[in-house]
């Protein structure tokens, strides 16, 4: 049973059609990257999968069972099983780092305060943050730390499904590759299904099991990056055959 199954998806933003008949399947435990040129509808697709955007047509199946017209209760239950990390972190600015991570736990559980706090510490640690960052406010964090806190918050409820929007954008190369490793590690440790929207060529080559390439409102190709580089579809091979892509590919095959 796939974790996500999208059939014949159509979405519109205003009068602009973003997706026209898009199909996509994400298997459990898979780390799928969504790529495509700017404006191809990657983020909108992510918003559809996280139930933030309503499709104009088509079906979105999460965790395999069908349910039409989600009640608030079902929606809440479903959201509990997914974690979302937004591009710019979207941390709650009025709460400290640790409170940001504790927030979903407080909303969904009645665990003792001590346990929640310690669980938040575990998540921050998993996301690679030092303990002394916990009491800081989001405004006092660097870009990389903000991303890590956002990841820790996304992981707060041990989601089965993790969505990441441009997780490495704006990070220096070392932090970015650390972050990539972290995501793979977490996937293996926690058995997550991960969907990541990314422009980062290194991420695409190094962590993705499969890359879904978006264009013309559909998934033009969905395969391993090295297969995509030899794709017969011009838009795909142009994207993956580009100079930056090729250098990233060489780095992947000849790790220093």
């Amino acid at each position: 049973m796939p974790a996500i199954e999208i059939r014949n998806l159509e979405t519109r933003l205003g009068d602009r059609t973003v997706h026209r008949g898009l199909d996509l399947t994400v298997d459990r435990g898979q780390l799928l990257a969504i790529a495509g040129s700017s404006g191809a509808g990657k983020t909108v697709l992510l918003r559809v999968m996280t139930l933030l955007e309503r499709p104009a047509d088509g079906t979105v199946t999460l965790f395999g069972r069908s349910a039409v017209g989600l009640s608030r209760r079902d929606e809440r239950r479903l959201r509990r099983r997914m974690g979302v990390m937004f591009q710019r972190g979207a941390l709650f600015t009025g709460l400290s780092v640790v409170e940001n991570v504790m927030f979903p736990l407080r909303e969904y559980t009645r665990l003792p305060e001590d346990v929640i706090r310690e669980l938040a510490a575990v998540k921050l640690h998993l996301a690679g943050l030092e303990t002394d960052a916990a009491t800081r406010m989001p405004a006092e964090l660097s870009g990389g730390m903000t991303k890590r806190v956002a990841l820790a918050r996304a992981l707060a409820l041990d989601p089965e499904l993790l969505f990441l929007d441009e997780p490495t954008a704006g990070l220096d190369p070392v932090s970015a590759s650390d972050f990539d490793h972290l995501i793979v590690q977490l996937r293996d440790l926690l058995g997550l299904t991960v969907v990541v929207v990314t422009h980062d060529v290194d991420s695409l080559w190094q962590i993705a099991d499969s890359v879904a390439f978006l264009g013309d409102g559909v998934v033009l190709a969905n395969d391993r990056p090295d297969v995509l580089a030899r794709s017969p579809v011009p838009a795909v091979s142009a994207y993956f055959g580009g100079a930056r892509m090729q250098r990233a590919a060489e780095r992947t095959w000849n790790p220093e």
């Binding site: 998806l9 159509e10 519109r12 139930l51 933030l52 955007e53 309503r54 499709p55 104009a56 047509d57 088509g58 079906t59 979105v60 199946t61 999460l62 965790f63 395999g64 069972r65 069908s66 349910a67 039409v68 017209g69 989600l70 608030r72 079902d74 929606e75 239950r77 479903l78 509990r80 600015t93 009025g94 640790v98 736990l105 969904y108 559980t109 009645r110 665990l111 003792p112 001590d114 346990v115 706090r117 310690e118 669980l119 938040a120 510490a121 575990v122 998540k123 640690h125 998993l126 303990t131 916990a134 009491t135 406010m137 989001p138 405004a139 006092e140 409820l157 041990d158 440790l189 926690l190």
Partner: protein, 386 residues
């Protein structure tokens, strides 16, 4: 189902599974065998009851305890954390039984030094008073600094007015002045109506109906109209200025302006101030007119003072000095509202919350200062015999 779906049609369905519901988490303390048996689904959202029991539990004897995970059907980091805390409580030589490799991996994962609990800063009342005083004094100093900086930027520019951004001034005047016409007009009219009614009922008992002209004319022109306009503009534009500048600070637009070589004063503060200084006297005249008109309507409708009688009496009842005494206050109120709004905007740092706070504080402070200034004007006018 989804929050911001706008008005898009919703024929698409979102299809999901329910929970893979199985047995809830359970825990049994078998004191006789010194065994703790864990059962069921040990995942974060089903652990409330188990967590409460586990956290209350204390080992009854100091022997070796065994924690049996054989019955655990699912485990996540929250469950693993609870188990780890249980292990610690059971004593150093407690051991796990029937733990799968996955269970053990998770238990290792949650082995993290606990966070120090931060105590909220309370301190004794004296200390708090001291901190508050220092904070307010430094805010006062900041305000002085802001005004100084503003003057240093403003004065040379006023000497060469063609260099000012008149296009910005016009846009601000549209927002702060023209768009405020309906609300100020309506409220001034209603104030005039209310005053004429309340005053008229007293005056009528003395047969002095015609003095409604003096009453509404003087109070409206001299006090009510400038005050009313200043308060409305403080609520409309002062808060908007604070919020706009505050948001621009958070989004680094201020810094972007600076790097392009434009000071925020030049681009934002000075146009806003100029627009307010130009608009407030004009709005006051407008409110004067509508306020008096309100009084006139009531006088004609309820107290037998016709429009023409009212207008005949008006110049004699309200000398021009009264009118000017009201008008000269308006630019001062404008400066207060504008400077307070912009200053609060510049004090914003960090969070979205701070923007809201700045907007609120700017309105409260602006209204406060406007009323204080009005009182000072009254004193000064009295001394000068106006």
């Amino acid at each position: 189902m989804s929050r911001d779906t706008g008005n898009r049609s919703a024929t698409g369905d979102i299809v999901i599974a329910g929970d893979t519901a199985d047995n809830g988490a359970d825990i049994r303390f078998e004191d006789a065998e010194r065994r703790i048996v864990c059962l069921g689904d040990w995942r974060v959202t089903g652990l409330d009851a188990v967590a409460r029991r586990a956290e209350r539990w204390r080992p009854s004897s100091a022997h070796t305890w065994v924690i049996d995970l054989g019955g655990v059907e699912a485990l996540d980091t929250a469950g693993a954390l609870l188990l780890r805390r249980l292990c610690h409580r059971a004593g150093e030589d407690a051991r796990l039984a029937n733990a799968s490799e996955h269970h053990e991996a998770l238990m290792r994962l949650v082995e993290v030094e606990p966070l120090q609990r931060v105590r909220p800063m309370t301190g004794n009342p004296l200390e708090r008073l001291g901190r508050l005083t220092v904070a307010h004094l430094s805010a006062g100093l900041d305000a002085l600094g802001f005004i100084g900086e503003l003057m240093a930027d403003l004065v040379p520019r006023l000497a060469a007015p063609h260099g000012l951004r008149w296009r910005q001034v016009a846009a601000e005047a549209q927002r702060a002045g023209v768009n405020a016409l309906p609300i100020t007009g309506l409220l001034a009219f209603l104030m005039g109506v209310v005053m004429a009614y309340q005053g008229g009922s007293v005056l009528r008992t003395y047969g002095a109906n015609i003095f409604i002209v003096d009453l509404t004319g003087i109070t409206m022109l001299r006090e009510m109209a400038p005050l009313l306009v200043a308060i409305i503009v403080a609520g409309r534009s002062g808060s908007a200025n604070a919020a706009q500048i505050g948001t621009m600070r958070i989004t680094e637009e201020m810094d972007a302006l600076r790097t392009i070589g434009i000071t925020p004063f030049e681009m934002l503060v000075i146009p806003k101030l100029l627009a307010l200084v130009i608009c407030l006297p004009l709005l006051t005249v407008w409110a004067d007119g509508l306020g008096v008109f309100g009084g006139m309507t009531v006088a004609a409708g309820g107290y037998g003072v016709s429009f023409s009688a009212f207008l005949d009496r008006l110049p004699a009842a309200v000398p021009a000095g009264m009118f000017w005494a009201g008008i000269v206050k308006a630019p001062v109120f404008a400066l207060l509202v504008g400077v307070v709004g912009c200053f609060q905007g510049f004090r914003v740092g960090g969070s979205a919350e701070a923007v809201g706070r700045a907007a609120t504080v700017s309105v409260v402070q602006a209204i406060f200062l406007v009323i204080v200034a009005d009182a000072l004007f009254s004193l000064a006018f009295q001394q000068l015999g106006i």
